[in-house]
Amino acid sequence: MLGYLLRRIGLAGLMLFGLVCLTFVISNVAPSDPAALAAGPDAGRSQIEQARRDYGLDKPLPEQFLRYLTDLAHGDFGRSIATGRSVGTDLARYFPATLELVILAMALGVLLGVPLGVLSALRKDGPADHATRIFAVSGIALPPFWFGLLLQLAFATWLGLLPTSGRLSVFTEPPPPITGLLLVDSLLTGNFGLFREALSHIILPAIVLSLPCLASILRVNRSEMVEALRMDYVTAARAHGVTPWRIVMVHALKNAMLPTLAIIGLRWGWMMSSTVLVETVFDWPGIGLYAVSSAIAGDFKPVMGVTLIVGLNFMIANLIVDLLYGVLDPRLRRA
């Protein structure tokens, strides 16, 4: 088990290094001159040259790369032109909002996707299965930004049940962060009014974000369950008199959960990525909105910072999935 663990962590470290290389390359192939960007839109030639020297952009690429690495190691992602703050500070401030959204959406996706997948597999080729399939493919096909607009229109504008956008009403002072997750912080401080308000704001974006995730978990879980229920060991369990409930929920589902877990790991990363769209629609102050507004303004460092954070999240999620695989599958433990 320890060897397996170390190998996985080593692999993740390699991926991280690759990721850093990637962002560095993207920054340096940009047709726009990074020095000109750094110096600001109104800078003259001498100011640009000054910026080039200040940021070390006149140095050879390997040296620049080394410097990029050391900066990152110190948590220095550079400075945002638009906000004027360091990207690290901005990320620390926006990330909890994204994290909260992604966690809730993932919870929805897993808690609904797995049982629906099992149900669909048990009713294979029945009307319920076909309905679930169309629902699942729809979940992947619905443009999240458009679906978000529809929900806003229906639940906020027409029905008036939920707020349109934001994390809290503009009149509510955000509490001092403990974890930075409003739902958790409000419960920790016993502020149920705040909890309700945060919940009413997060529910629509979480639904929009979770739909593709739910859909793909459902699909993978369904087909893996269909597969597992056909296996010889399920036949044997039936022959030996194991109860149908136990066969489905333990003997088959445990096997089906291995590939499902892999999808959950992938989807965690994808959610961090598609949150860009959801946050844009719902004005959710997370890293997605930060990345989009920076990208449109040609503000480069924040986009790279977000890319790194999302990549890091993706990697950690996959690492956790790999470890869970080791826990679930005894055959891996010995390796």
């Binding site: 990721l19 192939v29 169309i134 493919v137 229109l153 769209l277 990697m315």
Partner: protein, 296 residues
């Protein structure tokens, strides 16, 4: 002896095709997918000749007519400068389909040869190709695409380039795993023992056997690429108005919510149906051609 064995395995009998078509026609969701795909392709092909207001494609301005609700003259209403929305979404089908197919084929054209090379070559070369591929897979697609567009500058061509750069690694993975697994198959062993050349093995065995998963993946990816381009258009990094691209249209329409809500409806429904069609079709094809694989 081994030559005949090779022949029978490599060339799937016509029966298999017939079986596949029979299975496909029995599945309601696959037929729905096929119908939607055909509809969108037809729309893209004949679009310019059937739209009610051809001069609205490029964005004619008639402010007297702006933001009309659906009516007999404008079935889906008009936009903020008085263009017929129906005309623009139909032309949008052309753009989206072209872009979706373009991205997918370009990604496959880069990824598949690299993957087959990696799978067949093995050793150092394989290691190098696969690690390079992993690099691009270390960040989820949309964020990487945004980073690339941020570097290249917004616009539909750059969005396409970015999405191709994001998309090809998936094809390397697919082709590599197919080539690898086929290398291990007994009938390849037999073909090699029988003296078949590398090129022949590639042509007769690796390509036909990779074709099913490739078709399935490409069908799904065309849908996903259409969605991705629309997403970039929506956040303002893809096609620029007045190009009648669906995502960009929704991005504009968003500013006219909630009072002129129908403006945002048509392009959204079109994206949904197009992506749904390609996904349902791909899903149905996978069940038949490649039942053992699973992707989310």
């Amino acid at each position: 002896m081994s030559a005949t064995a090779e022949e029978t395995v490599a060339a799937p009998p016509r029966r298999r095709l017939r079986l596949a078509l029979w299975l496909l026609s029995r599945s309601f969701s696959s037929m729905l997918g096929l119908f939607l795909v055909i509809a969108i392709v037809v729309l893209a092909l004949i679009g310019p000749w059937i739209v009610p207001y051809p001069d609205h494609v490029a964005g004619a301005v008639s402010l007297a007519n702006k933001l009309q609700p659906p009516s007999a003259a404008h079935w889906l209403g008009t936009d903020e400068v008085g263009n017929d929305i129906l005309t623009r979404v139909i032309i949008g089908a052309r753009i989206s389909l072209l872009v979706g197919i373009g991205i997918t084929f370009a990604a496959a054209a880069i990824g598949v040869p690299l993957g087959i090379l990696a799978g067949l070559a093995g050793g150092r070369l394989r290691e190098a190709i696969m690690r390079f591929t992993d690099l691009f897979l270390s960040v989820p697609g949309l964020v990487l695409a945004i980073a690339l567009v941020a570097a290249l500058g917004p616009g539909i061509v750059n969005a396409m380039i970015a999405l191709i750069l994001v998309w090809w690694p998936g094809y390397v993975r697919l082709a590599e795993s197919k080539a690898l697994s086929i290398r291990e198959e007994p009938f390849i062993e037999a073909a090699r023992v029988a003296g078949a050349s590398r090129a022949r093995i590639l042509r007769r065995h690796v390509l036909p056997n990779s074709l099913s998963p490739l078709i399935v993946k490409m069908s799904m990816d065309i849908g996903q690429a259409i969605l991705a381009v629309a997403s970039l258009g929506f956040i303002g990094l893809g096609a620029k108005p007045p190009t009648p691209e669906w995502g960009a249209m929704i991005s504009i329409a968003r500013g006219y919510l909630p009072d002129w809500w129908w403006y945002a409806m048509a392009p959204g429904v079109f994206i949904y149906l197009a992506v749904l069609g390609f996904n349902l079709l791909g899903d149905g094809l996978r069940d038949i051609l490649d039942p053992r694989s699973n992707r989310g």
